[in-house]
């Protein structure tokens, strides 16, 4: 042991178990203090291996500090704090506990210096996050089951990969890996499943919107971004990731445009935004990696802000379909403002966090002379404004008046949102301090005329498109035979071309699998059930016969 440090994730993880038994003010105080203590611990971890354990022959490094870990640790604990504040009065006493355990496990992955530790916390994350979804009530059970299955499979693949890698190299250290051996491939696949890569991107929009209004805020922050972090550590500069990322970007856009549920829109945009990060990891230069780190940080903050805003609407109205909402700005001014700030950030508007972060990935593509990638990313940024930046706030808060007049949510929820608004704008206005946190020294000026003009051009143009096509873009609960149909039909056809697993197809597929599984189990039951041949009590004579037969078999095997 080099120096005694307390693993930062552990305090959140263990503290989570306190929450269900506490109540009243003590619970609030503990809930708010835990993430702050964790944040303090994140900053007390020195660089390098801070804690080592010898575990039969392997040197495990459960806590290893570096700039990247501190950056992710900071944003994860901040998110736990903001989320905890937001969800403080949620009436389910287990959800916050599960969410904190989930956050703690994520921080554990962030600081993991070896593959086994990664795996352990990886599985804990999967368990805790399933629990978070589960807490939304019976309507979420189906989704939580699908979510658990996909992550269990991911975990098995990852474990197999780690075992193979350890056997091949003899070391459990978590360092950058070369694709080539079966072990590294399996590890990459395990990571990619959590990042929401094809062909399983659909788990994100399937599972997250099923969570409660508060649970979704937590879910949006951790799993995919932890996967981004481990990809940054394990596979920087792997070219395949560029194409995976581009796929995710366009998958997210196409489905978000077609979607009607506001939280689902936001979840598709998670896939889209994480796609940007995956592309950046694929580029792998210092500039790109800084961009990925910065974008991950900024994305967690504004996506949580957007989901909080959507969560507030859901909390106040009980509805989340945009066709049933609209005109809410009259009675929910705070939520509207917060939603707009989040939307501006995700669209990378100058003076918001999105602008100073995302443009670094673009710059990374330019510096690496990847024209195709650059154009793809630029197109996608423009589209991002279209489908989330305008789409979500316009149809929810403005547009046709739905007649609903809900109030802004309680103080703790609005304070949590204001906190994130301050972060979004603070980072956007004064990026200097933010850039200090990056893994590599930053030599990048976001506010040059060229950058600002380019971005404004994109935004204005896509804004224009949005309002011109407003009628076509308006979500409808039914399909009308109009030009609208053509556009949506074409889009859907295109979407199928891109990805066979839209959420409905995903559900149909899992349904079919469940049916097959049921038939399979019935077959097994015939032999293994209480009345089956394998579970019945056998007559003693039959058992003796078996023993004799087996003896004969062994004798024959030996003699031959």
């Amino acid at each position: 042991m080099i120096e005694t440090v307390f693993p930062p994730g552990l305090i959140l993880f263990l503290g989570a178990f306190l929450l269900p038994v506490l109540s009243g003010h003590i619970r609030s105080v503990v809930a708010l203090a835990l993430p702050l203590i964790a944040l303090f611990l994140v900053w007390s971890v020195p660089d390098g291996a801070a804690l080592t354990i010898h575990w039969f022959g392997y040197e495990l490094v459960p806590v290893q500090g570096d700039a990247l870990a501190r950056l992710f640790g900071t944003v994860f604990t901040l998110m736990a704090f903001a989320g905890g504040l937001f969800a403080l009065h949620r009436d389910n006493r287990f959800e916050l506990a599960a969410a904190y355990a989930y956050a703690g496990a994520s921080v554990g992955v962030v600081f993991a210096g070896d593959l086994l530790t990664v795996f352990v916390f990886w599985e804990l994350m999967a368990l805790a996050s399933t629990f978070v979804i589960w807490c939304a009530g019976p309507s979420a059970w189906g989704a939580s089951l699908r979510y658990a299955i996909i992550h269990l499979i991911g975990g098995v693949v990852l474990m197999a990969g780690i075992a193979a890698h350890v056997v091949a190299t003899g070391s459990v250290a978590f360092t950058a890996m070369e694709l080539g051996s079966i072990g590294t491939w399996l590890i990459l696949i395990g990571f990619l499943i959590n990042v929401g890569a094809p062909p399983v991107s659909a788990w994100v929009p399937d599972a997250y919107p099923s969570a409660s209004w508060s649970g979704a805020v937590f879910l949006s922050a951790f799993t995919t971004k932890t996967a981004v972090l481990v990809l940054m550590r394990g596979f920087p500069g792997t070219e395949m990731l560029i194409w995976v990322g581009l796929y995710m970007i366009f998958y997210g856009i196409i489905y978000a445009i077609l979607e009607n549920d506001m939280r689902r829109i936001l979840c598709y945009s998670i896939v889209n935004q994480v796609g940007f990060m995956v592309v950046g990891i694929g580029i792998g230069t210092e500039m790109a990696m800084n961009g990925v780190a910065a974008h991950a940080f900024a994305h967690i903050v504004y996506k949580a802000l957007l989901l909080m805003s959507a969560g507030s609407v859901l909390y106040a109205t009980g509805k989340s379909k945009t066709t049933e909402l609209g005109g809410l700005f009259r009675s929910m001014p705070v939520t509207t403002i917060c939603g707009i700030v989040g939307a501006l950030s995700i669209s990378a508007f100058p003076l918001t966090s999105g602008f100073v972060a995302k443009s670094m990935i673009l710059q990374g593509a330019i510096d690496a002379h990847m024209a195709l990638v650059f154009f793809g990313l630029t197109t996608a940024s423009a589209c991002a404004f279209l489908y989330v930046g305008l789409n979500f706030p316009w149809f929810t808060f403005f547009d046709r008046d739905s007649g609903l007049r809900p109030k802004d949510p309680p103080a703790n929820m609005t304070i949590a949102m204001w906190l994130l608004v301050a972060l979004c704008i603070g980072i956007g206005v004064a990026p200097g301090l933010f850039y200090e946190l990056m893994p590599y020294p930053v030599d990048y000026k976001p506010y040059t005329t060229a950058h600002v003009v380019l971005q404004l051009q994109l935004l204005l143009f896509s804004g224009l498109v949005f309002f011109l096509l407003l009628k076509q873009l308006r979500h409808t609960p039914t399909i009308t035979l109009d030009f609208d149909w053509f556009w949506r039909g074409l889009g859907r056809a295109l979407g199928r071309e891109f990805d066979g697993l839209s959420v409905t197809a995903w559900e149909r597929l899992t349904g079919r699998m469940l049916e097959a599984a049921r038939r399979f189990v019935a077959g097994i039951y015939r032999h293994h059930g209480p009345q089956g041949i394998l579970a019945r009590g056998w007559p003693t004579g039959l058992m003796t016969l078996w023993a004799t037969l087996l003896l004969a078999a062994w004798l024959i095997a030996y003699y031959v």
Binding site: V156, V167, H528, G529, L534, M543, Y558
Partner: protein
């Protein structure tokens, strides 16, 4: 010096103390005195075993000539890392269960038979320890009979009428197993003219390829597979475990089958030699098929059981599959996995059966539907159940993970990818059957007798929790268990021949 003289006699004391204690219990026939006596003796056992293991680890194997007759003519007791480890396991399990036994036995066994229960318990303990410590093939058979006969009685003492049938079945099959073993030993004796393990190992080289030796190997293999309940010779086990009193089940499940595994290891590696058994003969594929069949078939059967005790019994059959899988791999890492699982499985099954014993004390049975909501009424007991259950699944941080890690590593090392997947896949089955119990016990509203149940007295809770905590402690720090297991595996591969 008296103390050094006493130290020299440790191997004999390990077996003679419980034997003498059993006789005393039978003579006195008072249940409290019997319990006190049994507790004292069973607490002395781990002290002796640990002292011997320390001596083995520091100085080297202990050889003890019984009655002063020099081996190979007299009976030799020989303790090395392999059986030293096993002695510690058996004696520790035997000791932990005793404080628990008082209340559980009082509730489950008729008053006038309780002293006899303790008598049989000590006999069984003596038999198992004797099987582990002796270096004489025939002496091992004698101890096998002592332990088996007392085990039949222990099982027949169960409240359930079916326990009698189960004990009878076990009697028949156990006797067949022992007979096959003794036929094998007889053949070996005919070919080598000795019964001493070390001596036999040296002389067998000359007659290795002869038919009687091959037949002996087959007889001993099948005999021991019956005793260790390897699929498909497991059928006696579920009935026996289900019918036996809780204390007997916990004790037998965590020790008896393990000793049979040890004898098999002894014959395979120390006497016949790994090269002969695994390279010249097709033992690996046969054992592998049976192990994998056990892992899956028995786990799946466990899923559909309505009685939790029976479910765990089937799970034991599956877990024995992991242990024999480690043997079948016949590599140091695989064997380490098998041996460490032998230890770990004893811990977790002990904890699970003891938790169930607590439930049986309160609600009078272990039917799953009667256990609805019991987690809310007996939270401490069922929490131990969950921890041991997680361990059975192989969740990282528990002992189950350590075993499966080594086994998977051994499989990958041998280049058998599919086997590593099967190991992980079969643990998913454990998720299902443990999950079923957890779901019923924690997430349903308590009904019937379960609604009035409370956690059992501390004398039962503490032993249960010691084992449950050990599942976590040895899972986090596997240094001791895995270290000793690795040394044992090395010692086995080195063989007895000098």
């Amino acid at each position: 010096m008296i103390s050094t003289q006493l130290l020299d006699q440790l191997p004999a004391l390990q077996v003679c103390l419980p034997l003498a204690g059993a006789a005393l219990c039978a003579l006195i026939d008072r249940r409290y005195i019997a319990w006190v006596l049994t507790t004292l003796i069973s607490f002395a056992m781990p002290v002796i075993a640990v002292m011997m293991l320390i001596q083995v680890m520091t100085v080297g194997p202990i050889s003890y000539a019984f009655g002063g007759w020099e081996p190979p003519f007299g009976i030799e007791y020989r303790v090395d890392v392999v059986n030293g480890f096993l002695l510690v396991l058996i004696s520790v399990m035997g000791a932990i269960i005793m404080p628990y036994a008082l209340r559980s036995v009082a509730a489950e066994i008729a008053r006038n038979k309780q002293a006899w229960f303790y008598c049989m318990y000590l006999l069984c303990l003596a038999g198992l320890l004797g099987m582990a410590i002796t270096a004489d093939a025939f002496n091992a058979f004698v101890f096998m009979e002592i332990s088996s006969l007392s085990m039949y009685v222990l099982i027949a003492l169960g409240r359930d009428k079916r326990a009698l049938v189960a004990a009878y079945q076990y009697l028949i099959l156990g006797t067949i197993g022992a007979t096959l073993y003794v036929i094998g030993v007889g053949l070996l004796f005919a070919m080598t003219g000795t019964l001493n393990f070390g001596d036999m190992a040296e002389r067998i080289v000359a007659v290795e390829q002869s038919r009687p030796v091959l037949a002996a190997l087959a007889f001993i293999t099948v005999g021991m597979c019956l005793k260790l309940a390897l699929f498909p010779l497991h059928v006696w086990l579920p009935n026996a475990y289900t019918g036996a009193p809780s204390v007997a089940t916990a004790f037998i499940a965590s020790t008896a089958t393990k000793v049979a595994v040890y004898l098999l290891l002894r014959f395979y590696f120390s006497i016949f030699g790994a090269a002969f058994v695994f390279e010249d003969l097709p033992v690996t594929p046969i054992l592998l098929v049976m192990s994998v069949a056990a892992m899956f078939a028995a786990s799946i059967v466990a899923i559909f059981q309505g009685n939790v005790k029976r479910m765990l019994a089937y799970s034991s059959v599956a877990q024995m599959g992991y242990i024999t899988l480690g043997i079948a791999l016949a590599t140091p890492i695989g064997l380490t996995g098998g041996i460490v699982h032998l230890f770990n499985h004893a811990l977790m099954k002990g904890a699970l059966f003891m938790a169930l014993g607590c439930v049986a004390l309160r609600i009078g049975g272990c039917r799953l539907d009667a256990m609805a909501g019991i987690g809310r009424r007996m939270p401490i007991t069922m929490a131990a159940f969950v921890i041991a259950g997680l361990s059975l699944i192989g969740v990282p941080g528990t002992v189950g993970f350590v075993s499966k890690w080594y086994l998977a590593l051994g499989a990958i090392e041998a280049g058998w990818w599919w086997l590593a997947f099967l190991i992980v896949g079969s643990s998913l089955l454990a998720v299902v059957y443990i999950g079923r119990v957890v779901e019923v016990a924690w997430f349903r509203a308590p009904t019937g007798t379960a609604a009035e149940a409370t956690d059992p007295p501390l004398s039962m809770l503490i032993p249960t929790w010691i084992l449950a905590a050990a599942c976590i402690a040895f899972g986090l720090d596997a240094g001791f268990t895995a270290g000793v297991a690795a040394e044992a595996a090395d010692a086995l591969f080195a063989g007895l021949r000098q």
